[in-house]
Symmetry: D2
Subunit: 392 residues, 4 copies
């Protein structure tokens, strides 16, 4: 067992660090970064161009596709650095939902699907969305999926309403999950500018870090050719798992960077700001919060690393990625909440980056399964294993 | 000891409840309620007109001034009901900073000052701000006050920069706290549309419930006549205390209403929304959160009532209002955070009122002294009393 | 609404305070107070004699029976003071299970039952136990009751095994809850020195404040005459509720006194003990804990007072006593845990009274229904009320 | 980076696991294990004999001395397994204070000191204590050391009072820390059966896992020859650090085993015990606690592993061992507290091993520096590093 980073990962870490510091953070104060529905498409393209120039675009994609073919562990390191700016994941094309969609497409799509949809996306020229969640559920509980796909000749006809679809506004293509007549689910690929797809509205949300925000999409007899089925018919729920476990973990990584950023801002503030005759940092109450932050950040990092290592070994890691999701989202949230408290009035205003990090982060305890759903799935596994007298 | 509400308070409670439900909540979805710097002045006037018609405007002001002369206990009950809508306190003219300013003016202002500034404010025709906090402190630690007032003939000349001044944009008058040459502080009254006062900008803030937002004000050789001194020269810090202890408590009251609103929304959602085969409310994990909410709401209410009773008896209640501030802000925050979690995706979007309540509420753990400052002042008192062998 | 204590309650509070300080606390270091199964019977009698002399014995019993006929609110005040020493409730004969049994007997027993069993108990000459809990449940979930009572002529024959029966060893009489053939439950009165009753063992427990400890009782064809049925046949579950709601609340009261005692010890220690160049109390981290203690103590007190007031008004208060149970047990536990932390090594040794208070207190989050059971019963009520659109 | 355990460590882990299960756990119910001052010396010798037979005695000692020369990482794995029984560390001779003393002696003692004191200790034939803490401090704050050592000819004369000295009763030798005339500190070695050493008493403590309990020692003009100085004169504080950082971490390891044991007991109970119509484990509230336990256990394990790896690389790891100490003691405590809650009445009685684990564990948040002291030392380091613009 060792915690050494391979030299090439360390090099990439440092390069990402520099890129974020020099090329991305200065753009945080750009007004286009402050839109209610995330950074503007325009700003996104500018950021992507910078990452491309720095050789840091879409690093998780395979080398054939033009990425760096990062292992999960390498992603853990690089994505944390990218997350240090809330614009970093957008710049490097590793933000949700594209990051997870790229991963899924690499695993499941046909060569011609890859050429048509994946290649331009890896190149940062297009964006995608993942249309699964619905107003009445089907987020945490996939059993409630109500959007239907009905076979009609060689095509499928999709009808339903999707909700909280990240990046919907302005997305170039969508992966749509729909229920088949036999109760199974299938994933479909479709361009977004087609009849039968309507963006009902973009939702006003607490988090504003995703270009395209969160949209409500209506599929009204959308016709999809059978060649545009993603993977096999009826395997939609299985693919959703393929997508979710690693996607969940990359959320943990990016948001760890965010939490670390907030912490660094709070440390600086605590060093410089005086109250009651001495710097804040010399107040035990503040010092304890900084120490707790450090503990929480390291806790999150260790869970991420351990789970990434499991995934790299080829394990599914469902239990561990649920565990990491809960541990990280709660720990990172505590960090950011403490930072707001240390910053006082500055913490609840846009005077520093912390306010937006706080607002973005709150959603993380809900996205990709709220902590409660993961806890329950962990509990069932714990009890099941004990029932079998399984060794740990 | 008893917890009975007097009949007239109960009647007022019910009247407020109806007013909020019928006259105020419907306006929550008005676009003018969603401004980045709070409800628009226009909407405020409409709300105030409704409260006036309902006989519920400025109820905490004395009867001479046209209010209802509410006791602190009556305020506890009525303000909680008003807070049930985030527009309620604006409608009834009991929001910060006006509520506290009205209280302070009643206590300290001269008859002519009252006529000039207080009477129109009680009538809901004008708004005020309280210019104390500064960029480098003087929020929690008044010793750091840097804005100066220098005697010049019969006038005082004020210079300095104030920060996080709630309601500044569009306020009609201000109470300005400035440091005298001898280190003491004095409060000054001034109209806002005068040379020497400049609104540098309005800050972008997480909370958006105060009309006028939070402004940065520059006082550049502002000339204030000595007749516009509020109270006695050199007594600024003492008056700040007069203002703060009850103001702190009214924050607790209004935000209790907000937390209760969020809880009610979460209860309804939990009853109706299904996941994993049954309504959310039948999941123990959700049920426990609802029970904890109820405990926290009642805890906050009891602290408020007890402290209000002390204030009504004429006690200063500094210790108790610090205690109530910490207990309520933390308890109410926990409630709202749980509601977001129960609501899931709905909790982090403007689909319900909860998102804005959450964002408004976060600031409450900081405003009027962060929990840490109150805890420390409580600790000193606890230890001091123990040193004196004082009976509890 | 007001929080004034009636003069006679205040007088009784002060008298109890003096009694505890002068007559009870000095006996805490008596070796007979440190038994693994609670204070010895011998010490108990000495303590009772002192309370009798002070006119403070069994104050909750009715005046006819020789008590002081305290209201629930008066109990709230007096029991908190009694709890200031872990021997106080034993001295004043207000400890579990006798306190609850006396209450139940007053409500339900026949005159001759009262004369035979209740009168000597109120006089402090005898002790009782309440035999309900069983090894496989029937603590939190009464539906699991397995001890049976079968009619045989004019008698009932009881068979079963009871577990965690507080005060069993040395008790003079027992109230036994058994299941009838029709599934209902009945309560039976029996002397303890009869054939058919066997104390299998006394359990080794973390808490050691109850004389008689916690026993395992076996009922082997115990014959009980029908005149010794307590109340009506088949009403056992209902009477258990009659007993439990107030008994739950008196636990909160006594343990509030214990928590306050621990806090006072911690305050004194923090004032006197120095570390890193200054008294502990001048360290913010310690000061924050003292402040949080004060908040938690007051929170517990307010919940107790409010619920006691409801009970005095004749309300059942099931919801409120569940709420108070959770709020108090968790708050008082936090207090005592913080005290241990402040005291450091002294906190985990018998150098001060805090160690035993800590060990006694842990059980309080479980006794009379663990926090989880109460939370769930609250949740059902909250949801039920919301379903009915019931006003709060 | 990888989390693979070397094959020989995995083998040792399994061997330890079997040893604990087959040879140690059966002795937990031995009455000699339940003494107020820890397992009896007699039982200790029996346990040690079993470990010797299993080839698992004193595995952390170097191979020259007869141990297995475990790395810190290997200790992390083996000590966790040993801790799975509260008698395990005693059996394998890896309990505090001997474990840390053996480490310190190996680092600092002369060959003849090693032969005289260390060799028999490694062989499990003798026990030692570490006499540093004093009644007025010198635990967390070494600056308060009051025991003095005065040079007298070739000897030193030691006088003072030591407090909370683990294992004092029955120890064969002691390492005594005393203050020199110049304010520095020196460590001295002494047999315990000498004039000038008196065991004033053994303290009654919440934890009962250390043979010899916690004693109060009086040194009254104890004469120590200069050849019995441990290491160099004046280096006592430095050696205390040498001892503490790894000793702190081994506490984390052993107690992780304890927490895991408690968790396994709680899982089994939750699977088998029914309440309200289904097994406890099918109640979400219980399931969430089990999931949180798993998260906390893994969090502790990861912090231990990471810090052990740093120590193996030769880093001092003061910051990281402080961090691990806080993270582990708090996480493991939460686990055990939840287990008590799940077990209900069984949790607060000796019916299972959990009660004693709980009582032993509480002290861990205090031993080797309370969480507060570590947090503060972390905070200073965090701020210092930020001041230097140090890269993380």
């Amino acid at each position: 067992m060792n915690f050494d980073l391979p030299a090439e990962v360390r090099e990439l870490q440092q390069r990402t660090q520099r890129f974020i510091a020099e090329q991305v953070i200065p753009l945080e104060s750009d007004p286009r970064a402050a839109g209610a529905h995330g950074p503007s498409e325009d700003l996104r393209r500018e950021l992507v161009a910078r990452a491309r120039a720095a050789g840091l675009l879409t690093p998780h994609a395979s080398r054939e596709l033009g990425g760096l073919g990062l292992s999960h562990l390498a992603k853990a390191v690089v994505f944390e650095e990218a997350g240090y700016s809330r614009l970093g994941p957008t710049a490097m094309n590793i933000h949700a939902p594209d990051e997870g969609n790229i991963h899924l497409m690499e695993e499941v799509a046909t060569p011609s699907q890859k050429e048509r949809w994946l290649a331009p996306q890896v190149a940062g020229r297009t964006r995608s969305c993942f249309a699964m969640t619905e107003p009445d559920g089907a987020g945490s509980d996939p059993g409630m999926l109500a959007t239907t796909a009905v076979r009609d000749g060689d095509d499928y006809v999709l009808s339903g309403r999707k909700w909280f679809i990240t990046g919907a506004e302005g997305a170039d293509y969508a992966i749509v999950v729909a229920r088949m007549e036999d109760g199974s689910a299938t994933m479909f690929l479709t361009d977004m500018d087609r009849p039968g797809i309507r963006l009902e509205r973009s939702m006003e949300a607490m988090d504003t870090c995703f270009t395209g925000g969160h949209g409500v999409l209506v599929f009204d007899k959308l016709r999809v050719a059978s060649e545009d089925v993603l993977g096999e018919v009826g395997q939609g729920f299985r693919y959703a798992q393929v997508r979710l476990a690693p996607a969940r973990l990359t959320h943990c990584m990016r948001w760890l960077g965010q939490a670390r950023r907030a912490h660094d801002i709070a440390v600086d503030y605590a060093r410089q700001r005086r109250a009651f005759g001495k710097p804040l940092a010399e107040h035990e109450g503040v010092g304890f919060m900084l120490a707790d932050n450090d503990i929480d950040l390291q806790t999150a990092r260790l869970h991420i690393w351990h789970t990434a290592w499991l995934l790299d070994r080829g394990e599914k890691g469902n239990f561990e990625s649920s565990r990491a999701k809960v541990a990280c989202s709660e720990a990172e949230w505590r960090v950011v909440d403490r930072c707001v408290q240390i910053l006082g009035g500055q913490g609840v205003t846009a005077e520093t980056a912390v306010m937006r990090i706080f607002m973005d982060m709150r959603a993380f305890r809900i996205y990709d399964g709220p902590s409660e759903v993961h806890r329950w799935s962990m509990a069932r596994k714990i009890v099941h294993q004990a029932s079998q007298g399984a060794a740990r």
